[in-house]
Amino acid sequence: MKHLEKYIPNLLLTIILVFALIGVEGITFAKNQLMRSQPYIETVEKNDVALKSMNAIEKYFKDSENYSGIPADVYMSAITEEDIKRMIDMKINNAFDYINGSASKYDEMQFDFTKLEKSLSDYFAEFAEKNNVEIDDAYNQQLKKTIDTAESEISNFTDVYMLKMIEKTGAFSKLNKLYGFVNPLIYISAGLTAMFIIIIIIISRKNFLYWISSALLCSSAIALILCLYFKLSGYLDKLVIRNDYIYSAVTGMLNGTINKYIVLQTGIFAFGIILMAIYIIICKKTSSIDKNSN
């Protein structure tokens, strides 16, 4: 085996390269997987979240039949699973539009509830006719209140990622400010990675493969250890979310993200091993050539 030339300088450069690699991998992955609405929407589809949300809405209106006197069918006939899915997607898209700067503020949702309003108005009119109820201001006020409450409740049930709660913590405005730095950070960390690789190649022509593969192995090992700790400690299972549809969406997204990151890092780890193997093979070949020439 050969000795490693310029050991301490190469070691320090490799340590910095590890950070640069973690940075470029992490930020690029975060941008593609966490800072776009698509992965969140795909998770909702994959986990049938719209159906679960629909079931929760139906249960809510059924439970409220006793004190509201309005059958659940009046509401449920006016909304479909497709409507729920569209509302969920709209909320997610609106959140990311604000985060990435496409929208100047976070607008929860602007959904067309015409069908629901018509269904409730028709029911009220029918009830009024049957029971000789006068259509006056009080009647109209009650109808408006019922419509507003229904729209608000349905809207709550489609907030599957608890975006309203997250907005309360101020996270959206913070992310909005940070979003502008994402691309520059990717370029900077990619540039630094390339720069350090080139420097290592220049100062350690015989052993650069060793140092670069060590950097790849260490950066991916750190990421894998963290992800596996997350998965094995069961942190996600400890999340206290009472609602099935929210639980499915949130844990589905988190699990999916961690799994994708594990796959990415495993690939990088494997690449590191391949480079190391190539280095060892080259070392053995050159040392056997040296032996033969001696």
């Binding site: 085996m1 050969k2 000795h3 490693l4 050991y7 070691l11 490799t14 340590i15 590890v18 950070f19 973690i22 608890m162 709660m165 997250i166 309360k168 913590t169 101020g170 996270a171 060793y210 060590s214 950097a215 192995l217 260490c218 950066s219 090992a221 750190i222 250890i225 999340l239 206290v240 979310i241 009472r242 949130v250």
Partner: protein, 210 residues
């Protein structure tokens, strides 16, 4: 000698891993704690809260009679003597008489300078904005708040909400009318703030048990 070289090559990645892990762990401890606090806030707000019994309080109840003849049971400091229920924000929590850091972790606390529940005047209750009163801001005008004690049930209706500074005692001062004032921190869920959100409610019904 080859063995020495091999050992160096084998141990070096482990050294790099150790140094990098140490630096990353040290640098990310505080940001991770902040993210964890936000995650706990979002996901665990309605979870059960830790029971702490570090301080031993005097336990006693004093039965008495109000001017109108109704029976009232005065609790001692630190006793849980009521529950608060606000259906519109899905809140049901214990109410403790008095407020200290420990009691605020256990439930909703009653400000000592306010009247006992059922007496004439201003009942003032407060709780942490990241736990029991997380959704206090969502209480709307007309929403019903019920305080239940061992001697009666008291119903209030939300009248108005306002923001005030922590140095302003106006809203927690005694009043001539019967009201319920709920307050919590406002503006920063993840840290201390000077502002408070107050929800002022008017009395609808006093029902003393015989």
């Amino acid at each position: 000698m080859a063995k020495r070289s091999a050992a160096v090559m084998l141990i070096t990645p482990a050294v790099i891993l150790a140094v990098c892990s140490g630096i990353i762990a040290g640098a990310s401890y505080i940001p991770v704690q902040k993210i964890k606090a936000a995650a706990d806030l979002v996901f665990s707000a309605n979870a059960g809260h830790e029971q702490i019994n570090e301080i031993k309080y005097t336990e006693k109840e004093v039965e008495s009679q109000l001017d109108n003849g109704s029976k009232i049971i005065y609790p001692s400091f630190g006793a849980q003597y009521a529950t608060i229920k606000i259906d519109s924000i899905d809140l049901e929590a214990p109410v403790y008489f008095g407020s200290t850091d420990e009691l605020l972790k256990l439930g909703v606390c009653q400000y000592l300078g306010s009247v006992f529940i059922g007496e004439k005047g201003n009942v003032v209750l407060d709780a942490h904005c990241n736990t029991f009163f997380l959704n206090l801001g969502d209480v709307k005008v007309g929403d019903i708040i019920v305080l239940t004690t061992s001697y009666g049930e008291f119903t209030y209706k939300m009248k108005e909400s306002t923001i005030f500074k922590e140095t302003n005692n106006e809203l927690i001062a005694p009043t001539a009318d019967d009201r319920l004032t709920l307050y919590t921190c406002y503006g920063n869920l993840l840290g201390p703030t000077e502002d408070r959100l107050a929800v002022i409610c008017e009395l609808v019904e006093k029902k003393f048990y015989d």
